[in-house]
Amino acid sequence: MTEDQIVYNTKQFNNITIKQFYKMKLVKNAAGRLVPILVNGKKQIPFKGVNKHKPTGHKADPPIRSCLDYPWDGNKVQKNLREALKNAGLKNGMTISTHHHLRNGDAVTNLLFDTIKKMGIKNIMWFPSASFPVHNHLIKYLEDGTIHHIEGSMNGPLGGFASLGKMNGTGVLRSHGGRYQAVQDGEIHIDIAVIAAPQSDPFGNANGIDGPAACGLLGFALVDSEYADKVIVVTDSLVPFPCVPWQIQGNNVDFVVEVESLGDSSKIVSGTTQVTKSPDRLLIAEYVADFIEAAGIMKDSFSLQAGAGGTNLAFAVFLKERMKEKNVKARFMRGGSTKYLVEMLEDGLTDFILDGQTFDLEGVRSMRENPNHVNTSPFTSYNFHGKGNFASMVDVAVLGATEVDINFNGNVVTHSDGYLLHGIGGWQNCLYSKCTILAIPSFRDRIPVIVDKVTTLVGPGELIDVIITERGIAINPKRKDLFNSVKNSKLPIKSIRAIKKEVYEICGGKPAKPNIDKNKVIAIIKWVDGTVLDSVFQVNVVNVESTSKVGSTFT
């Protein structure tokens, strides 16, 4: 076995010497990015271009189950999580999935890996729908080999850990839709899904709208519940059968575990979500609302997707004023829901909220009480292997980014210093909307956001229509229609190159390239179709001792 052809599969981590998977063979994909063709022992297809890859054959299939193997009284409650994991057949090298609806309040994932550690199990591949700073607790398990590697977002310190090349395997970052696709493609086989559920019955019917840890919905766990070999529901609010509505169906669930608490409810949903107070972000938000109005997108029965970042919330507030003034009503609004979307629903400014995740208490309340506040999942919204999905039906999506380049390519996962710090979320999927707007500052402190070339390619520029910054609005030259519709407005339309030039002037020149090792891939970025769009490389740390001139970076 040569070094660049180490072959293993996820079940056999413990049988091989984990030396280096780094020295991978890299090829240039259709976006001109260097990507590995073998990752964690699995063959990869380099990105071929937007809408150029279409897998055929049959979807992965979960094993046949029979009701004979389950208690006739429907009671699947286990003594504790350890018992459930044991009965689920937990073994070294398995793939275990969790969802991120509990966000930074999640205590279940940490408890899960504490338990796995105590059971002496090693080399787990963790397959979360996203990670949060609370999961820094797991760094010690990455270090001691309890967790082999992560395929999912790696935020903050987890990303920093991976960026320094400390993780055994290679990270794989997918969009929410891409996670569904990877499971359906059979690229990922989930051995055990652990689904934290704010309310459940002993049969495993579960939802997120009630209980002390209420988080709204559980859509991110849908694919796990349907495709995993074994499904464990963990709850701190066990109610007698039936638990309704059953966002997770008990018929897909093997075991139910009751714990004292799922986590810190104040960090699961915020009591109130705040619009940004930054005057510059508010200026960007106002430009977004002005643009949507000037471009003629804001008309009766239109639809939009709003994120929960401070700028995105603010744009919704500004848009609301304009909709009221012009007496315009939307058909549906997608998003992370917050009180601001809920107010629009309740004020009659939209017929529906199609909610992917709920960010505050008002969102949870509305989802519980209002039948027009509908829960969705990556299947309905984003899945590449669905017979269509909602993302492409949205009139306008307003998103963020860490970097955008002069070809409108976007990055959301790494910072300009090369560190992996964020996940993709639904960002890639949302690029399919009819008008995708990135609302971003042109630079942060002294870090240019509009750059010559993105550090990591996460969204191809051909899908990104408008960049709205505090220094002007750049429209993708491909979208002449949008350009023509706003050219007579007072909006500050500029070329993206002009904005970039100005940013470089302010920041003191072109930024140096990140100090990375182009031979060491620490993570790959999947496109929505499962192909590899780009690689994230290891960051070189400058040794503070060896030079008196240069110190270490803040991380």
């Binding site: 220094r471 003191g508 140096a512």
Partner: protein, 405 residues
């Protein structure tokens, strides 16, 4: 050379777009830089080059320079290093100046609109960079009340560098100096560096203005500067109110007269109220003094940044009294101030009618005209023309309205 340590700038978790410098001058060992920066991979080299260039400029051969950088822009880093150096060796008189930004070379005019003036604390460079994007008529880099007494030297240099480097996107560049006599010492950091207007706080007499005027003239002569620098005295005391006309007419360089109510109300032993009865006399006095002297009367700031409706009402009230500008302490106030100062559609229509009638009469050689029973004389026409000009500037009227008419 002593091994004295000096420092400048700011550090801490909440610091943004600024840096902290620690400097020790030594007898040997060359220049040692210890840089910690969140933009190190992008601009680490460029920061090192700046340090080396500054050391060369100030003829520093041996020093230990520690930089904790929170994404400060070059003009800020340079100001902080120069401050640390001058705190270490007060004898150094040289100034490390960047060339004036080409985009900042726009001029001002005595009569320009000054509806909004946005205060920016002089030692907080993070607020400077995007201030102009909110399109205030003027920005004020403040050296007075918003700067701590022991940071005045630091603010002088960062304001000086900002005047040269930062693009304020067409906003008039104002600096509020300190109260006299300290304020006279601020001028050498300001006058040669691309300033448009100097604000004289707590101005109480014509003599105050004349001393500033004289010092400016002296510096301009030495530095061979021939651009115009205007003055805006701020009346903030009972004595200032009483002397407001002599102040307003003390120099041909005065463009506006402003009132500052926080200090004024304290001076007369009362408190500011929303209604503002306590300051009616003072405000009217300032308006009358300014108009008598042919300059703009400018109102105080509105200090509740969360109450946008209150701000709007306050501006409408100020406009009603005769003020032509209002102070802003937050960028979001600017737009409201401009909207509230804008002429109403009714005012614009009336002004158009007056101007048209007057022009037609003029063509026919008629001296006196009237609309209905009202006589149109020169002052009425002048006011109408001012309304029209304002309407054009705020995009309520097209510049060619007369031809289109």
């Amino acid at each position: 050379m002593s091994n004295k340590k000096s420092s400048a700038g700011n550090k801490g978790d909440n610091v943004r777009s600024d840096c902290y410098i620690e400097l020790v001058l030594r007898n040997s060992g060359g220049i040692k830089t210890d840089l910690k920066s969140k933009v190190e991979s992008m601009y680490g080299e460029s920061i090192h080059e700046l340090v080396i260039d500054m050391c060369r400029f100030f003829n520093i051969k041996n020093a230990k320079i520690k930089i904790e950088d929170y994404g400060a822009l070059p003009f800020t880093i340079a100001a902080r290093i120069e401050t640390a150096l001058k705190r270490n060796s007060p004898g150094i008189k040289k100034e490390y100046l960047s060339p004036i930004n080409k985009k900042s070379q726009y001029k001002s005019a005595k009569q320009r609109l000054r509806r909004s003036r946005l205060y920016l604390p002089g030692n907080e460079p993070k607020y400077f960079i995007n201030a102009g994007l909110h399109k205030p008529d003027c920005i004020i880099l403040d050296l007075e009340d918003s700067v701590a007494p022991n940071e005045k030297d630091s603010a002088q240099l960062v304001v000086r560098n900002a005047l040269r480097s930062v693009n304020f996107y067409g906003s008039e560049r104002m600096v509020r100096i300190n109260q006299l006599p300290e304020g006279l010492n601020d001028l050498k950091y300001i006058v040669p560096h691309n300033v448009h207007v100097i604000l004289i706080p707590k101005c109480e007499s014509a003599d105050n203005v004349k001393r500033v005027d004289k010092e400016i003239a002296r510096i301009m002569k030495i530095k061979n500067i021939n651009t115009e620098i205007f003055l805006m005295p701020i009346i903030e005391s009972a004595l200032g109110v009483i002397n407001s006309y002599e102040i307003a007419s003390a120099s041909k360089n005065i463009c506006s007269l402003a009132i500052g109510l926080e200090d004024y109300t304290a001076d007369i032993g009362t408190q500011r109220t929303e209604e503002g009865k306590e300051s009616f006399y003072a405000r009217s006095m300032v308006i009358n003094a300014a108009c008598a002297a042919g300059i703009q009367p400018i109102d105080t700031v509105y200090s509740d940044i969360t109450n946008m409706e209150g701000l709007r009402e306050s501006v409408i009230e100020a406009k009603g009294l005769g003020f032509e500008g209002k102070g802003c302490i937050h960028p979001r106030q600017v737009k409201i101030v401009h909207e509230a100062f804008a002429p109403t559609l009714q005012e614009i229509e009336k002004a158009k009618k007056i101007v048209i009638t007057f022009e037609e009469a003029d063509k026919k050689g008629l001296g006196v005209v009237s609309i209905g029973s009202k006589m149109i004389d020169a002052p009425v026409v002048k006011r109408a023309q001012k309304t029209i000009e304002m309407a054009i500037q705020v995009n309520l009227l097209h510049r060619n309205w007369y031809a289109d008419n």
